[in-house]
């Protein structure tokens, strides 16, 4: 408070995080407690006053963007449940972290959906996976699991079907090594227990009614008069889960009046594998290849966010060397190449959705193939790159991109790596982007299908926690690479793409601009790679340990991925020496949270537009369902 008194011209909505925290503390002295656990940040708020405090955080302190809301189960580490919120200012800067604690027996925390609609799906997820109730939530139902599911799987005392041990590595693998197939030990159907009040034969009925009810209607159709006095019926239409336009197993439940959509409810979870539970059994290192499988279009970006979060935690420890410059440059290069892949893919498939079937996307995919060839030669795999490590990378660039002949392959390629890269970055990719623009930007059909369709206003975009091109297409210039920079982005020269209109076309334009900006970044990376030729990719000059001990604490690492803000919330518990398995591993998935405003964006448009609107959000179900 002294600081504020000393600098009265500094308005509180732009004050530093520390000042903001002390402002909160002076406003709500009995509701706020500083989080002084080892390696933790932010404040702990009394749940009874959470709404008040959150309102101050949003309205007075200016933290208008709720990036992530997630739960942690501290069983055996204090025996409470905790909701952790990360709020940011769309003008940039770090997070104000606030938490609310509740007991494990009957966990209840007031819902923040009234303040941030973006909390909607995330609170439903916390209810689904942790069993926390949110009074005030308009539609608190399971979201990833099915409605009849027994228990809340992310709780520490919940055990999955093929449970073997609390933590990996499992003891049975070595030196005893008695090989078995899990299915033999644990026959399907015998590994689940159903709640007694569930009628297995009528499973669909009981779990589905709630979904239909959430649309404000029972399964019965309503009678509606249209403006000319004709009697029309409001109809419920299920699009998906098996529908080519939903980009995977995803379902949209629409009510339509004629061709016009009156409400829409996304239904997801068909690809749910409890990635986070797996992640908490895994060691820190084990998780890197698992992150590849989230947004499998841009696995490099997924790796990056995760290693950043773990490096944040490791930097709390005594022995920590930040990655070398070459390592950072290589990371940025890989991530920007994946952004190009992601946007080419997103634009291409969005065109499929609005009817330009496969001609454009195939042109773009040709370019994507080169980039994947490059990933394959450097990281060993085209899509599941598994390239980044804590404090380093899997390997430096090879001298040549060269294939070897052997039994199964007889077609060989051989290029100098730097030459291949230079050619790709300076010629091929720009050429493809030019073609893309020639084909689409002024194309009348594209314009008619996309201008003024699926409009999301800037206020809504922020309030719904939209991220990435969806947010920037609504006129909010929020790009984490600039707003809360990481890696070597501060020294790179590029602009944040932003368009004001908030419709599908604006999102397309944002993606095109980002493609060009990525090329601009890549052009700056090339000389940096040349200059650091002799530098090691490892801070210590040698690869990191296979079971690093990560110090006690929490970290939220976030990156601007192709689809939006990808965040990893990690908690490392365990003794003073740290631990080798994360206590909490949470993924703030942009594809998941960007679906929150889908219903809002779709209202009033035609059924055929819905497909395009979903395509313009650009989701990938590996990440949505986790």
């Amino acid at each position: 408070m002294e600081n504020l008194a000393a600098a009265p011209e500094q308005p509180i909505e732009t004050a530093s995080i520390d000042d903001a925290v002390s402002f909160l503390k002076s406003n709500h002295p009995d509701a706020i407690k500083l989080d002084d656990r080892d390696g933790y940040e932010g404040v702990i708020v009394d749940p009874d006053q959470l709404l008040d405090v959150a309102r101050v955080i949003r309205d007075e302190l200016g933290f208008d963007y709720l990036s992530s809301a997630t739960a942690v189960d501290y069983l055996g580490e204090g025996d409470h449940m905790e909701m952790v919120y990360h709020a940011y200012r769309t003008s940039g800067g770090g997070a104000l972290v606030f938490k609310a604690q509740t007991d494990r027996e009957n966990p209840t925390i007031p819902s923040l959906t009234g303040l941030w609609r973006g909390a909607d799906f995330q609170e439903r997820e916390a209810w689904d996976l942790y069993g926390i109730r949110f009074p005030g939530h308009p539609n608190l139902k399971r979201i990833l699991m099915w409605e009849g599911f027994h228990g809340h799987p992310m709780r520490k005392d919940w055990r999955e079907a093929y449970y073997e041990e609390e933590l990996k590595p499992f003891d049975s693998r070595w030196p005893g090594g008695h090989v078995h197939r899990s299915e033999e030990k644990n026959v399907f159907g015998k590994n689940v227990s159903y709640p007694t009040d569930i009628d297995l034969n009528r499973l669909m009925d009981s779990s589905e009614t709630a979904v239909y009810e959430s649309l404000g209607l029972g399964v019965d159709v309503e009678r509606i008069m249209d403006k000319d006095g004709f009697e029309t019926n409001e109809l419920v239409v299920n699009m998906g889960p098996h529908h080519p336009s939903t980009h995977g197993v995803f379902r949209m439940l629409l009510t339509v009046d004629g061709e016009t959509v009156t409400s829409l409810e996304p239904v997801m979870g068909y690809l749910h594998r409890n990635h986070e539970k797996i992640g908490e059994r895994n060691t820190y290192l084990h998780n890197i290849p698992f992150t590849d499988r989230l947004d499998y279009i841009s696995s490099m970006g997924n790796n990056h966010g995760y290693v950043l979060a773990v490096e944040q935690l490791m930097s709390l420890g005594r022995k920590y060397n930040p990655p070398t410059y070459r390592c950072e440059a290589l990371r940025v290069m890989m991530v920007e190449l994946s952004r190009i892949v992601n946007h080419l893919w997103a634009i291409g498939f969005w065109l499929n959705d609005i009817g330009a079937f496969f001609t454009p996307v195939l042109y773009f995919i040709q370019e994507r193939e080169r980039i994947l060839d490059f990933f394959e030669a450097v990281a060993g795999s085209r899509m599941m790159c598994n390239y980044m490590r804590f404090g380093g990378l899997f390997g430096d660039l090879p001298e040549r991109i060269k294939s070897v002949a052997n039994l199964t392959n007889d077609r060989v390629r051989d290029y100098n790596t730097m030459q291949f890269l230079t050619e790709m970055i300076n010629e091929r990719i720009p050429r493809t982007i030019d073609e893309l623009e020639l084909l689409l930007t002024q194309n009348e059909i594209v314009l008619e299908r996309s201008v003024d369709v699926g409009v999301l206003s800037a206020e809504d975009a922020i309030n719904y926690s939209a991220a990435g091109p969806l947010l920037r297409g609504s006129g909010v210039a929020y790009d984490i690479r600039r707003a809360d920079p990481y890696s070597i982005y501060p020294e790179l020269d590029f602009d944040v793409a932003v368009e004001e209109e908030g419709d599908m076309y604006a999102r397309y334009r944002v993606r095109v601009t980002e493609l060009r900006e990525s090329v601009r970044i890549l052009r700056q990376i090339l000389p940096r790679l040349e200059a650091t030729k002799d530098e090691s990719i490892w801070a210590d000059g040698k690869p990191g340990a296979y079971q690093p001990r990560v110090p006690h604490g929490e970290a939220y690492g976030r990156v601007e991925n192709g689809k939006g803000e990808l965040g990893y919330y990690l908690v490392s518990a365990g003794g003073r020496g740290g631990s080798s398995n994360p206590w909490r591993y949470h993924v703030r998935a942009p594809s998941f949270i960007n679906l929150t405003p889908l219903g809002r964006m779709s209202q009033g448009y035609k059924v055929a537009d819905i497909v395009g609107i979903l395509g313009s959000i650009d989701i990938v179900l590996g990440e949505t369902d986790r």
Partner: protein, 281 residues
Amino acid sequence: MYGTGLAKGLLLTLRHFVESYMDDLRYGFRKYHHSTDNFGIRQGTKTKGVITVQYPDEKVAVPERFRFVPFLIVEDEDHPTRAGKDWCTSCGICAKVCPPQCIWIVRGNDPVTGRPVPEPEAFFIDIDICMNCGYCAEYCPFDAIKMDHDYELASYDRTSHHIHDKERLSKPNSYWRSIAPTRAYDEMLVRGTWEHKDAAKEARRGASSARARSSQPAAQAPAATVTAAAPAAEATPESSAAAAPSSAAESPTPWSEDEAKREERRRKALERKARRAAKQG
């Protein structure tokens, strides 16, 4: 004017169409013929038009770092002392770093003393579960497990064919050198020898015990093989380095082995192993 954007786009499509034929003329349709050069044109950075690869008639060669289900390295058959011996010492690190935990290792035990020996008795990888992450190869301290390039592993029955045992996993060192020449070379530089780390140690130990035994009158140690192995094992990195490129150039023979040959190799290796075990026992 309304429609110009559309027309421009259609012209672009037309250009792609025409260009693919121009390209064909430029290379005289050569790019469709099977040969490394022609394939290089088609998949090169300058090509326009068709770049499709007609799998399975044609296959894109994979780069060295390409990773698919791992295999275990055993010493080459023509190695004087260690032919067919596993490089793996059953240290268990790969089983620990494996994210989905699909490696099972039974550590070998000396039948007489009961003490662990540096050789796995059994080694299984469930390839259904393996996520091809490459960690096992990356963290193995003995270069004993490597990622394979053979990605055609389809079979008719997943319940019986997809747990690979040691027999199925083992491939000779020369195979690794043929699919990943530069990586094998780099690893050799670090190790200091083309052979397993232990080969040099063993050779030294063998030599000293041979000396000890030859001081006794009734020495019947196979000293000849030991002395033959010693120079090879103790070759300096420089000399092996000098030899490496030439040997690679001389034998660029792609790895090819039919099932019968493979069986034969397996059988021989097993026999040798049995003989060795008998000798030791």
